[in-house]
């Protein structure tokens, strides 16, 4: 299914709820973040992908093209190019490497953000199981 389509989001919610352990994988984290995915081909538009987690349980996964999700005041805003997010989701590049290589920018408390790198990598590994067409 097409990356970031409604169907993909629906599957992502199901698979993460089914496969991620709130304690072991998501470290009982409570946070929210918006991934701002820029330069999506073919027309170069941006997409806002919002994820909220409470006590290690993903409570919200929302997608928007207008930027209205920015009003949700997420704890972190992660911005990067489409290709970078695809590389991360495909497991070709870790979140931290993307950060150190300046491929993604993070707004928010960076020390706290770094604590979420491992849970985020778990989330991405889980999303990798979806047969995705990029």
């Amino acid at each position: 299914m097409k990356f970031l389509s409604d169907e993909w989001i629906k599957t992502a919610k199901e698979i993460t709820s089914e496969k991620l352990d709130p304690e072991k994988d998501l470290k009982k984290a409570t946070t929210s973040l918006i991934n701002v995915i820029d330069n999506i081909p073919p027309d170069g538009k941006s997409v806002y992908f919002y994820i909220a987690v409470k006590n290690g349980i993903i409570t919200e996964m929302l997608l928007d093209q207008t930027g209205s999700l920015l009003e949700k005041d997420a704890e972190f805003v992660v911005t990067g190019n489409y290709d970078t997010f695809v590389q991360i989701l495909k497991g070709e590049m870790g979140t931290l490497i993307a950060l150190i290589k300046n491929r993604v920018k993070i707004k928010g408390d960076k020390v706290k953000a770094l604590q979420f790198v491992k849970p985020m990598d778990k989330l991405n590994s889980c999303l990798r199981e979806i047969e995705t067409e990029y």
């Binding site: 190019n81 490497i97 300046n102 491992k118």
Partner: protein, 653 residues
């Protein structure tokens, strides 16, 4: 015979060349005319790394390991070598290698192949687009061109899915970045690649290299404009330290530069310019007045833009760690400094680091010495000796017989010289340094000398040999002359090296400090990795750091030594470089080095008042004041745990 069978048969001819190529360490010195021999004519004409000696070495390795197949471009590269021998002269001075044999073997190999084996690499849309920006000649996706950048921006296992582009102007850089951004193509800029060559040999390889996309080779932005009235120089990012210094000297001035082969703008943007001259000239933004950068959207930014938010601001938190640049620097306006007629280098030898630091800190606090550092006998011997073996024996004699482990190295005017002479027991002056440089082979040959063994039993052997009547005897015994030192080179190169060492600058210690042509000898057929960083200039702290780095190096069985300690801000801060040497061809050596890097970083981060070298990466554009005032506290256990996980993630890719 099939194409592949044909290639396999011919490939065995490359075996000897591969042995030489493997020893290459990408010091990048072949791209500057530091001996007056000229540079590789093919490299100068065609630009891409593939046409330079270091690139040919990577090509030969790639052909031999089947990473690439012959292409039409490969044929052009191989046949562009005029067999002029310049590369042998330059490389032999620095690394003691003979790269012309590699170029010759490649040429012979290619010319023995049937025309049918050469592939033509198809064009694609990106190649066409890049060509429309920089011109057909200055962009390539040919595997022979791509592999020549192995180890200086791409890792050996990265494949050849890249483009190399050589823009000539800031506007071209901006256009390429806009294109790359629009089509989600990763990219990374590169100067001469020497620092990257060092890091790609370590666990940081994946974090510092490019995995696919566009390699910016920035050598063509070569503008140098000296403004004598304002004592500044406007330079393009392709200008090397050697080229800038040469131009500045013509105008009676000096620039703060890093090693000769390094690109000045790249140094400014990456680690700042770390130098013994920092005692007077400073670090980071102290040395440039304007910089031109291209941001990730292709916008051209000038540091002098009025609407720019403070471009000199940064912080020293560990979360600010970044290993690749967020912008591409294309130009800078750098400060130039006066040269005094009475400048002289004075070296004060010591047995103990403790004593060397006492003198150096005293001088730094009083702002004495244009250039000031404590350097180890390891550095001295590596720099001045023409081969690794001679350097090893030279260092043995210095340490074991003369009790000469460290020296305070000062470039000063006549007034400062008087102060140094008053404070020091023994000094090695310019004349004695000339003796040691030209007489280094003979000095090293005294390893088994009974005379030196007896001398070592003197109460103060340093004083006996450098300040007493023995001084004249030593000078006579070493018979220092260009002819003498030239004898250590291969017979066909001896005349050339006799002429090289006859040039006054080759034994002029001030010139050698300013032009920095000798440090690349640290990469003489082996690699090293630097540890340490900026630290508050407290003697106890510096010694503890030095001892900790030595203990970890020894634990991991790495040859190790202090490199140098330089000073900033009137002796308030010091930069400590400690080096781990390793065999880049030995995987076990790599593993031990990586363990030592992780362990030293963990230890360094606990030290209050230390800014490890990793924190300085890509901070050179910023004010040192934002990094040093205040210096960081040691990390808490929680922060160390996060950092430990970060390191693990980086190591794991």
């Amino acid at each position: 015979m099939s194409k592949d069978e044909l290639l396999t048969t011919k490939k065995s001819d490359l075996q000897e060349a591969v042995k030489i190529a493997e020893k290459g360490t990408h010091c990048g010195m072949c791209k500057i005319d530091f001996l007056g021999s000229g540079v590789c004519p093919a490299g100068k004409k065609h630009g891409f790394a593939a046409y330079w000696p270091e690139g040919r070495m990577e090509i030969v390795k790639a052909l031999y390991s089947d990473k690439i197949k012959p292409t039409e471009e490969l044929k052009r590269i191989a046949n562009s070598c005029t067999v002029c021998g310049i590369c042998d002269k330059q490389c032999n001075f620095t690394t003691h290698l003979r790269p012309e044999k590699v170029a010759n073997a490649l040429k012979e190999f290619v010319n023995k192949l049937d025309d049918k084996v050469f592939e033509k690499i198809p064009e694609d849309k990106t190649l066409q687009e890049l060509r429309s920006i920089v011109g057909e000649k200055w962009v390539s996706n040919d595997p022979a061109i791509i592999v020549s950048y192995t180890k200086t921006i791409i890792t050996p296992d990265a494949g050849v899915n890249f483009y190399v582009v050589m823009p000539e102007t800031t506007e071209e850089v901006a256009e390429i970045v806009k294109y790359a951004d629009k089509y989600n193509i990763p990219y990374l800029p590169r100067g001469n690649g020497t620092l990257l060559a060092m890091f790609i040999e370590t666990l940081l390889a994946k974090a510092v290299s490019l995995e696919k996309g566009i390699i910016f080779d920035l050598r063509r932005l070569k503008k140098i404009e000296i403004d004598e009235d304002n004592k500044i120089a406007k330079i393009g990012v392709g200008v090397t330290a050697f080229a800038l210094q040469k131009e500045a000297y013509k105008h009676g001035m000096r620039a703060l530069v890093a090693e000769a082969e390094a690109h000045v703008c790249v140094n400014i943007a990456s680690v700042g310019i770390i130098s013994t001259w920092g005692n007077t000239y400073g670090w980071g933004s102290d040395n440039f007045t304007d910089a031109t950068l291209v941001d990730s959207k292709g916008n051209i930014i000038h540091h002098s833009d009025e609407d720019l938010t403070n471009p000199y601001s940064t912080n020293n938190n560990f979360t600010n760690l970044t290993l690749t640049p967020s912008t591409i620097i294309t130009e800078a306006t750098v400060k130039l400094h006066p040269i005094f007629e009475d400048e002289e280098a004075v070296l004060v030898p010591f047995e103990k680091l403790d004593d060397a630091l006492d003198l150096a800190l005293e001088l730094a606090k009083r702002n004495i010495g244009l250039s000031l550092a404590v350097i180890s006998s390891k550095y001295l011997s590596e720099f001045i000796c023409p081969t690794n073996d001679i350097a090893e024996d030279f260092e043995y004699i210095a340490k074991n017989y003369l009790k000469f482990n460290f020296m305070v190295d000062v470039v000063c005017d006549k007034y400062d010289k008087k102060v140094v002479e008053e404070l020091a027991d023994v000094i090695i002056d310019q004349k004695m340094m000339k003796t040691l440089i030209l007489g280094s082979p003979r000095f090293a040959s005294l390893k088994e000398s009974e005379f030196l063994k007896i001398l070592s039993e003197e109460k103060n052997p340093l004083k006996a040999i450098f300040a007493g009547p023995m001084k004249d005897h030593l000078e006579k015994a070493l018979d220092p002359s260009p002819k003498q030192i030239a004898k250590v080179y291969d017979e066909d190169l001896q005349d050339f090296f006799e002429k090289v060492y006859s040039k006054p600058e080759m034994t002029d210690v001030v010139w050698l400090h300013a032009f920095r042509i000798l440090p690349s000898r640290l990469m003489r057929q082996r690699m090293f990795m630097l540890r340490g960083g900026y630290i508050v200039a407290d003697k106890k702290k510096i010694i503890e750091l030095n001892n900790m780095l030595r203990t970890i190096g020894d634990k991991h069985k790495l040859s190790n030594a202090l490199g140098f300690i330089s000073f900033l801000e009137n002796g308030k801060f010091a930069f400590v470089e400690y080096d781990y040497y390793f065999n880049h061809l030995d995987p076990d050596s790599h593993n031990r080095l990586n363990q030592a890097i992780v362990e030293t970083l963990q230890m360094e981060l606990k030290i209050k008042g230390l800014l490890p070298i990793e924190y300085v990466f890509h901070k050179g554009l910023f004010r040192k004041e934002h990094l040093f005032y205040p210096m960081p506290e040691g990390l808490s256990d929680d922060e160390l745990k996060i950092l430990g996980e970060m390191v693990q993630t980086v190591v794991g890719g």
